[in-house]
């Protein structure tokens, strides 16, 4: 009887301890990677390769996501605001929603799917085929070579991607506003910029930098710690995408509280 009562508690305790251990592991991994960013040598070639992979090759998927999000947002807010004759607020709602929230969050989720998975799969394969051990035997620190350049690349690339997403999202809203909903083009754009403040954009870019760091951190950490061949690499890839997606959404709330809480 006692065992029946205590078993779920023991399981809960194990789960909590396991979560604490993972959080500690990830934290130490991140600190070590950051320390390598501050100490030479730095692998600029690898940084550039990762930067191009994150920024340039993610551009199409982020652009499409942003344009369609802007279009849908304009359409939805127009039909909603029409109920109390507030259609003129569509442009400002679109731009504020995009710059503060939807731009950084949706772009980061797309990048988490593309880049988080790619980092985890590449580094995970290197782990299970002894390539990471080989790096050590070839006088190269794997954290410095594999992790640090990717972390920096994603942290810098995401704000740039989000800036593009903001612009394209507003353009998507403007397209629907002017060609479908009957707004005058100049009036729509004026309304967009009249209500937009620098903080809206900056807070979104700061969020993007944090999310970029998180995507790269989870991708590299999961890959670096993968075990057990193809199945282990597959599991690491899934975990990287799921964990970074959840962390993006959770941290989005935390950062919003920090930036905008009254």
């Amino acid at each position: 009887m006692g065992a029946l009562i205590l078993d779920p508690l023991a399981a809960l305790g194990r789960a909590v301890l396991g979560a604490c251990r993972v959080a500690g592991d990830v934290g130490l991994f991140a600190l070590e990677a950051i320390s390598h960013l501050l100490r030479p040598p730095f692998y600029w070639r690898l940084f550039w390769r990762a930067f191009v992979e994150v920024a340039w090759f993610s551009l199409p998927v982020v652009a499409l996501t942003a344009i369609f999000t802007g279009m849908v947002l304009a359409l939805q807010s127009y039909t909603g605001f029409a109920r109390f004759n507030a259609q003129s607020a569509v442009a400002s709602v679109v731009v504020i929603s995009l710059t503060r929230e939807l731009g950084p969050v949706l772009a980061s989720l797309m990048v988490a799917g593309r880049i988080g998975a790619a980092f985890a799969a590449e580094i995970g394969t290197m782990r299970v085929t002894d390539q990471i051990d080989a790096l050590t035997t070839l006088s190269t620190n794997p954290m410095k070579y594999l992790v640090a350049p990717r972390l920096l690349a994603a942290t810098i690339a995401l704000p740039l991607l989000v800036l593009v997403a903001d612009i394209l999202g507003v353009m998507g809203g403007w397209l629907i506003g002017t060609f479908k909903l009957g707004f005058v083009s100049a009036a729509y754009l004026k309304s967009t910029f009249d209500y937009l403040e620098a903080d809206d954009v900056i807070s979104g870019l700061v969020k993007a930098a944090v999310f970029g760091f998180i995507v790269a951190l989870m991708g590299t950490w999961c890959g670096y710690n993968s075990r057990g061949g193809a199945q282990g690499v597959g599991g690491a890839t899934t975990t990287a995408v799921v964990a970074s997606s959840i962390l993006i959404l959770a941290l989005d709330y935390v950062l919003t509280e920090i930036f905008f809480a009254q």
Binding site: T129, D130, Q131, D133, A134, T136, T137, L138, S139, T140
Partner: protein, 279 residues
Amino acid sequence: MNASDDRRAAARPGTGGPDRSGRAGVPKIRLRGVRKAFGAKQVLDGVDLDVEAGHSMVILGGSGSGKSVTIKCILGLIEPDAGSIEIDGQDVLRLPRREREAIGDRIGMLFQNGALFDSLPVWENVCFKLLAQGRITRGQARDRAAEALAQVGLAASVGDLYPAELSGGMQKRVALARAVAAQPDIIFFDEPTTGLDPIMGAVIDGLIVDCVKRLGATAVSITHDMASARRIGDMAAMIHKGRISWTGPAASLGHSGNAVVDQFANGEREGPIQMELRR
């Protein structure tokens, strides 16, 4: 004198190159009481081993006996739970990180599956350590790689291929070229002939012997291929139940007088080594 002659001269004792002969009376590698457990499984249970400078030691043992763990402990890839590992008389486990890395710079390793970096072309793989240490420029690396590839019987054009474009035997030869390119004074070979046909296995063994002799290096190989062990090694050690149970000349494998070694070397089912089989 060309670059190749320079390196050979550097490899010879007394010609200004790195000291490969070790300190007099001190083994190049000495393990004492090395223990390592993974969970409840005690893989190494007090390994004692001496490898003399300039010798080629082959470590034998069944699958899961701890051969790979032993050399990973020496390489610093796995931290042992207890014991000491000395290289040239220095206990590497108790050295500061920088000094430990400096010793690591003098060690080369051929991994079982090659472990070539598949995102890099062959020439960059071969010269990876030299580039990482800043000893050559990228411009010089192609020529140096062509030279290293020639030493393992590969054409310079192979340098522009990626590892995935190579056969298993070619990958092993490229991995060998990479392991010796920085002229280490200790080289480890992990199952160098596994997965190769017997002829290619003999070719790889021949290249290993040539490379080790040319460099004047100390070699430690792990294998369960007896023909390979006799070709590569001048000394052999048997690891059994987490300890070194026998050390002797590689030429005596199969008729050493030690029941464990002879059963293993002759591949006999009956003997002191009992395989755990579920029926």
